[in-house]
Amino acid sequence: MTTDVQRMSLPRRIVGGVAGFFTGLGRKAAAFFNIFRKGGASTRLSYFIMGAACLRCRQFVKGGLYLLAQAAFLLYLFTAGAPALAGLVTLGTKTQGWVFDEELGINVLQSGDNSMLFLIFGVLAVLLCLLFLALYFSNIRTAWRLQELRRRGKPIPSFADELRELMDTRFHVTLLALPVLGVLVFTVLPLVFMILIAFTNYDAAHQPPGNLFTWVGFANFGQMLFGSSRMAGTFFPVFFWTIIWAVLATFSNYIFGILFALMINKKGVRIKGVWRTIFVLTIAVPQFVSLLIMRNMLNDYGPINELLLSLGWITERIPFLTDPFLAKVSVLVVNLWLGIPYTMLITTGILMNIPEDQYEAARVDGASPLVVFFKITLPQILFVTTPYLITQFIANINNFNVIYLLTGGGPTNSEYYFAGHTDLLVTWLYKLTADRKDYSIASTIGILVFLISVIVSLITFTRSASYRKEEAFG
C-alpha cells in the first residue's frame, strides 16, 4: 500500500511535455544563432572560450569558474571521455581467457573487458556531456544578459549579489540542488543504465568479467512478446494474473473500505473511535511483519489449520498457500486485511465532510436509504477518491511486498520460466534479478511494466471526473 504521488494530469503532461520539448528545442536553436549574429566581441568569444563575457565585465569568480569547467571537461573528454563513449558502442571486445603469448611461448590468462563497467562509464560520459552542454548554454545566456545590461547602462551584479539572489528570487535553485542531485545519481543514472540493459544480452550466460555481453536490439522484447519459447509462455500468463490481481485487489479494498467506513459512521454505533483505532492499528504494524506473520499463520501446519482441525471443522489441512488457486485467493484476502484500513480512513474523512442538510433534504423528500447512498454519498466518495483509486491500481500492479513475502510467487509452476502461480511481473523481475542474474530479461519486464502503468493511467485519467478539474490547479 502506498499513498503515492498524484498523477492527475498525466496525459496532458506527457503530450504537452513532448510537444513542448520539440518547440523549445527549435526556439533554442534559433536563439543560439541569433545571439551569435547580434552579439558583441566578448559575447562571440564566449562561444569558444566559456566565461569570456563574464571576465570582460570583471565578474572574475564566475568567469573563472566557467573557464575552469571548460578546461576540466576538455581534459576529461580527451583522456577518459572519448574511450568511454567508444566503449559504450562496443561494450568491450576482449573476452577473458587463455591467449598464446609469443614471447613466453605459453598460454597466459588475458583479463577481459568488463562490459558492465563499459556500460556504466559510457552512460556516465553521456551524462557528463549533457551536463556540460547545459553549462555551455547557460554561459551563452549569461553573456547575452551581460551585453544587454551594458547596453542599457545598468550595473553588473557582483558575485556576492548573485549569491544573495540564490536565497531570494532564485531560491528554487538552492532548494532543488540537492533533490536533483539525488534523483540524478540514484534514479536517473541507474534507470538509464537498466533501460539500456534491456537491449543487451546480459543474462546468466553472459556475466562479466568472465564473459562479454553486447547489444542485441529488440531481441529481448521479441522473445518476450512474440516468441514461442517458455519466456513468452510465462510472460502472458503472469501478465494476465498481474492485471486480474490489480483489478481485484484495488476494487475489493475500495468497496470493503467504504463499507467499513459507512458502518463505523452509522448513527447509533457507539465507540466509533475505538473501532477506528483497532483497524488503523494494522496500518501501524510494519507491513513485512504482518505479512511474515500471515505467511506462518496460513502455512499447512500453521495455527489456522491447527485451530480448524482441533475444532473439528475440517478433516484435512487446507493448502492456503500451496494450492495454485487457493494461494491466489489467500493473497487477495490478506491484501484486504492490509488495505481496507487505508480506504476506511480516507472515506471516513470524506463522509464527515458531506453536509448534514443534504441528507436532511433527501429524507424530507422521502428518499429511501438506498437512494440516499447512491445519489449523495457514493458520488461524493467517487469524486474525491478517483485519483486515489488509480494510484492504488498502479501501486497494486507493482505490489511486490504482499506477493513476495506471502507466497514468494509460489507455488512454482514448472511450465513457467522461473516463475510461480502467484508471481506478478514485478516479483518475477525481482527473482530474475536476484536469483537468476538474467538482467536483460528483468529490464525488459521492467520496461513493459512501465508501459502498462502509463497506458492504464492515460486511459483512466482522461475518463475520470477529477481530470477536468485539475486545470484549476498549479
Binding site: 503515492d4 556504466i120 534507470l191 543504465f193 447509533g268
Partner: protein
Amino acid sequence: MNRNRVGGKSGAAGITVLLAVLSIIWLFPIVWVVLTSFRAEPGSFVPNFIPEQFTIQNYVDLFADTSVFSFGRWFLNTLFVAVCSCLLTTGVTLAAAFAISRMRFRLRRPYMNMALVLGMFPGFMTMIAVYYVLKSINLTQSLVALIFVYSAGAGLNFYIAKGFFDTVPRALDEAARIDGATMSQVFFKITLPLSKPIIVYTALMAFASPWMDFIFARIIMGDNYEKYTVAIGLFTMLSPEFIDQYFTRFAAGCVVVAIPITLLFVFLQRYFVEGITGGAVKG
C-alpha cells in the same frame, strides 16, 4: 453484508456485532504474534493457539544471545538509518515541494513531468544499477549507502507536500515580500511554521520506511549480518535453516519493532489522516 442495513435505522446493534467480529479477525494475527513471543515451547508450528507456558526468555535471548544474530545491533542500525534518512528526506521533500509550489521557473513543468514519469517505473528495477553505483564509490555493505538510497528518491515524492503548501494562503507570502522578506525567509519563517501536519507526516513516513524495506537493504548488505536492518534480519530468521529454532524469537523481534512504530502512529494519527486525505483530496 446486507447493503440495506447500512443505510437503515434498525441495524446499529447488528453492525456493532459485525464490527466486533471483524475487529477480532483484524486483531487475531497481532494477538497471535504477541502470544507467540511469550511462548516457552520452541518450534515454529504448535497445535495450540495459547502457549502452555509463558516466558520472557525470547526477549532476553533476542538481545543477549549474539552468537548468530545480534538483534540489538540491527535495531540500532535501523534506528540510525531511520533518523538520518528521516532528517534528510524531510528536508529534501519540503525543499522540492516549496520550490514547485511557490516559485515559478523555466524547468518547473519539466521537473514535475519527470517526477511523474520516473514514478511509473517499478522502483527496484534499478536496484542492480544502484548497487553498482554504490560499489563504484565503495559504499556497499554500509549504512550510509542505505541512507542515500532511502533519501535519494525524496526529490520525486513532493506531490503530497506540494498539495499542502498550495493551501497555505499566498497573500501571506506577498505581504512579507512587500515588507522586504526574501524567498528563503518566507520559506523558513512563514510557510514552515504553518505546515506542521505535513512536516510530521513526511517525517513519519520517512522514519517508518527503513524499518519496513528489505529489498534494497538485502541487495546492499548481502550476507553481512552485522550491518543488517531489522527487516532483513527478521526475514533471515524465517529462512528454513533457522525457523524452528528462532521462530519465537522472531515473534519477539516483531513485537519490539512494531511497538515504537505503532506508538508513533497512534499518537500522530491525526496528522497522518490529514496527510493522506489532504494529499489525496487536494491533489
